[in-house]
Subunit: 198 residues, 4 copies
DNA sequence: TCGTAAACGAGACGGTACGTCATGTCTTCTG
DNA sequence: CAGAAGACATGACGTACCGTCTCGTTTACGA
C-alpha cells in the first residue's frame, strides 16, 4: 500500500511534500467530517494536490487512511515495561490502550481503519502486520517472561491469553454497551489473571 | 428504523410483498457482491421494486441491512441452557457463536452490519438494543445463577465477565491473526473462569 | 442526433425544460467563451442541469451545438422570392447570407458547427440534410425557373451553378483574405451569371 | 509559430532531430487517429520526445499541425503554367487542387488545419500568409496576363474572380453534397469564365 | 580539452474535463 | 392512491491530457 514497493520501476522522484500533505489532510478530515464524506476529491482539495497524484501513489482510500494512521502512530514503540508486577504492567498497558481508543481523534481514526479492514483484505493484512502483530507480540513477550518465571500456568496458550486481555477492549469499543472506561481495563486484567471461579 | 412509527402518517397500506422482496434481495446480494456494490439501486433492481419504495420505508442502507439481519436471525431465542455445569454451558454457547461468526454467509452479514454500526449511530443503537443486549443478558443471567449459588466470586462485575467471554471472540473475528476456530472458545472460557495465574 | 428517433423506446418523459435550458446555455456560451471552453460541464452548469441529463439525450458536444443552431434558425423558411429579375433575386439572397455569416453571433455559431462537421460525420450529415440541402434547393429552384424560361444556358448543371454562387461566400468566410462584405455578393453574382470572358 | 523568430534569444542549439521527429509523428497521427486524440502527449510519445521540448518550440497544437503541413507541402511552387489557353490552364490547376483535397491523406491534414484555423487566429494568419495567399496570387497573376491581353472583361475585380474559381472547391470539399470530383473543376471554370446567362 | 550551459528524455506535479455511476427527489403512468 | 419505472440535479468516481516544473544526461560551444 505504501510506496508501492513491488513491481517495475521504483518511483524515484516522489514528492515528500505531496505525500505528507495527503496524509495530513486525511488525518484532519477524518476528525472533521463523517467518514463517507472523506472522498478522494476532498482529500486532494484539502491537501492542495492533484487527484492524479493520489491515484498514482495509493490504490484506494483505505490505503491512504491506513498510511495516515501509520504516520501518526509510527514511532509508537510497542513494548511493555517489566516492573516485576505483571498485573500492574498489564493494567497500565490496557489503560493506555483504552484511553487511546476512547479519545475522539484516535477513535475516529480507528473507526475509519476498521471500516476499511472489513472491506479490503489488503488493508486488513497491512494492519495486522504493521500494527496489530507488534502490539500483541509485545504483550505476549511480557507474559512469556512471567510464564517462564513460573508465575503463570504452564498449560496456558499465551496467544489466547493475549486475546482475553485485548479482545474485551475491542469488543467494548466496537459494540459494547456504554463507553470504554479505564476501570474496565483493570477489571479485565483481574478476570484474565485470577479467573472468575471462587 | 423500520416502520418509521414516529411522525407524520402511519403507513397504512405498506406492501408486505415489497418489504420481503427488499430484505431478501439484500440478504442475497450481501453474500454475492462486495459490500460497496450493495447499492440501493442494486437492491431495488434485484427486488423488482421502485427505488422510491425503498426510500419511503428505510432511512439508509444500513437500516435495510440491519432489518435484513433481524429477519434472518429474528427467531433466535437468546437464552443459555442451565445444565448445572457452567463451564460446559458457556463453552457450548461460545462455540455456537464462533461457528456462526465463522460461517461465510453470516460472516458477510456481520461484516456488513459492523461497517454500518461504525458509521451510523442509529444502526449501532438498534443493533445493541435488538441483538446484542438480549444476547449478553442471556449470558449474564446464566452467570448470575452461578454467582448466586456461590460458584463465582462475589466481588465480580458480571458485565465485565460477559465481555471477557465474548470480547475475545469479537476481537479474533474482526482482526485476530488467523481464523476464528471453535477450540478458541473453550480456551477463552477456561481463562475467564480459572484465570491465568498459577 | 436530436430526439433519438431511431431504435427501441421513444423517450416519452423527456423534460422540455431541461432540453431548452441546454440549448439556450449552449447558444449563450458559444458567443461568450472560446470554443474549447464550451465544455459539457460548462453547459450543464449554465443550464442548471445534470451532466447525465445531457449524456442521456445527446451523443456528443457537436450534436448539442447543432441542435442549438437548429433551434435558433429553425423557422427560417428557405425560399427565394421571384421578382422576375434573377440577378436581383440572387444578389438579395447572397447579401442576406453574407450579412448573417459576418454577424458576430451567427458567425461564432457557424464556426462552432463547422469545427464539429470536420470531426464528426454524424453532425456533417445532419447539417447537410437539415440546413444546407434546403438552402441550396431553394436557390436551385429559383434558377430552374429562369432556365425553363430560357434565360439560362440549357447545358448548365444547376447544382454547379449553385456552388459557384454560394461557394465563394463560404471560401471567403472561412479563409478568405479580409472580411466578408456585402459588395462581394454582388460581384459573385455578376461573375457567375455573366462570366469573365469579354 | 515556427522558429519563433521574433524577440529575445535566438534558439541556437535546437535539435533538428527532435523537430523532424515531432512533425513526422504529427503527420502520421493525423491520418491514424481521430483528431481529438491527436494530443501533445501522443505526439511526444510517438516522436520519442519530451513534452517540454514540444512546449519549448511550439505555442499550440495548431502550430505543430500547421508546421507539419508546411513541411510536407513546402516545396510546392505555386505558379500556373501559361499555355495561352486560359481555360485549359485553370482547369488543370483546379483539377490538381481538387485531386489533392480529395486524397485521404491530404484531406485529413486539411481538415485538421481547418479546425485549428477556426479556433486560432494565429494559425489562420499563418495559413493565409504562407499557403493561401501564394496560391491565390499565382492564379491571380495568370488571370492578369489574360486581362492585360484583353481576353477578360476590364471591369472585373480579379480577386473576386479568383474566389469564384477556388471558393466552389472549398465549399464542396467542406460541406458540399457528395464528394469532390475532378469534373466539378471543369464545370466551375466554365461557369466562371463564360457565365450562366444565355 | 575541458568545463559549462542549453536542450534533451523522462515523468511527477497541480489542475480541468471527461464520461459513468449512485444518490435521493420528483413526476408520470399503471393496477 | 400505492407502487414500478425512470428522468431529474447533484456530485464522486477513476482516466486522459493539459501546461509547468524538476530531474539527470547528452551535446556543442568557447575559454
Amino acid at each position: 500500500m505504501p510506496e508501492r514497493e513491488p513491481d517495475s520501476t521504483p518511483p524515484r522522484r516522489r514528492s515528500e511534500r505531496a505525500r505528507t500533505a495527503v496524509l495530513n489532510a486525511t488525518a484532519a478530515l477524518i476528525e472533521e467530517v463523517p467518514y463517507p464524506r472523506l472522498t478522494i476529491e476532498a482529500i486532494a482539495a484539502r491537501a492542495g494536490v492533484g487527484k492524479q497524484t493520489i491515484y498514482r501513489w495509493w490504490p484506494s482510500r483505505g490505503a491512504i487512511v491506513f498510511d495516515s494512521l501509520l504516520e501518526r502512530s509510527g514511532g509508537a514503540d510497542a513494548s511493555l515495561p517489566d516492573s516485576g508486577d505483571l498485573q500492574a504492567d498489564l493494567s497500565a498497558f490496557l489503560r493506555a490502550s483504552a484511553d487511546e481508543m476512547a479519545s475522539p481523534s484516535t477513535g475516529a481514526f480507528l473507526r475509519a481503519v476498521t471500516v476499511e479492514i472489513l472491506q479490503d483484505d489488503g488493508v486488513a493484512q497491512q494492519y495486522r502486520d504493521r500494527l496489530l502483530t507488534p502490539q500483541r507480540s509485545a504483550v505476549r513477550r511480557r507474559l512469556a517472561v512471567s510464564q517462564d518465571a513460573g508465575m503463570l500456568r504452564d498449560d496456558l496458550d499465551l496467544d489466547v491469553l493475549v486475546e482475553c486481555l485485548l479482545g474485551p477492549l475491542v469488543g467494548r469499543w466496537l459494540l459494547g454497551p456504554g463507553p470504554l472506561e479505564v476501570d474496565f481495563a483493570d477489571a479485565v486484567v483481574d478476570v484474565a489473571l485470577r479467573g472468575a471461579i471462587r
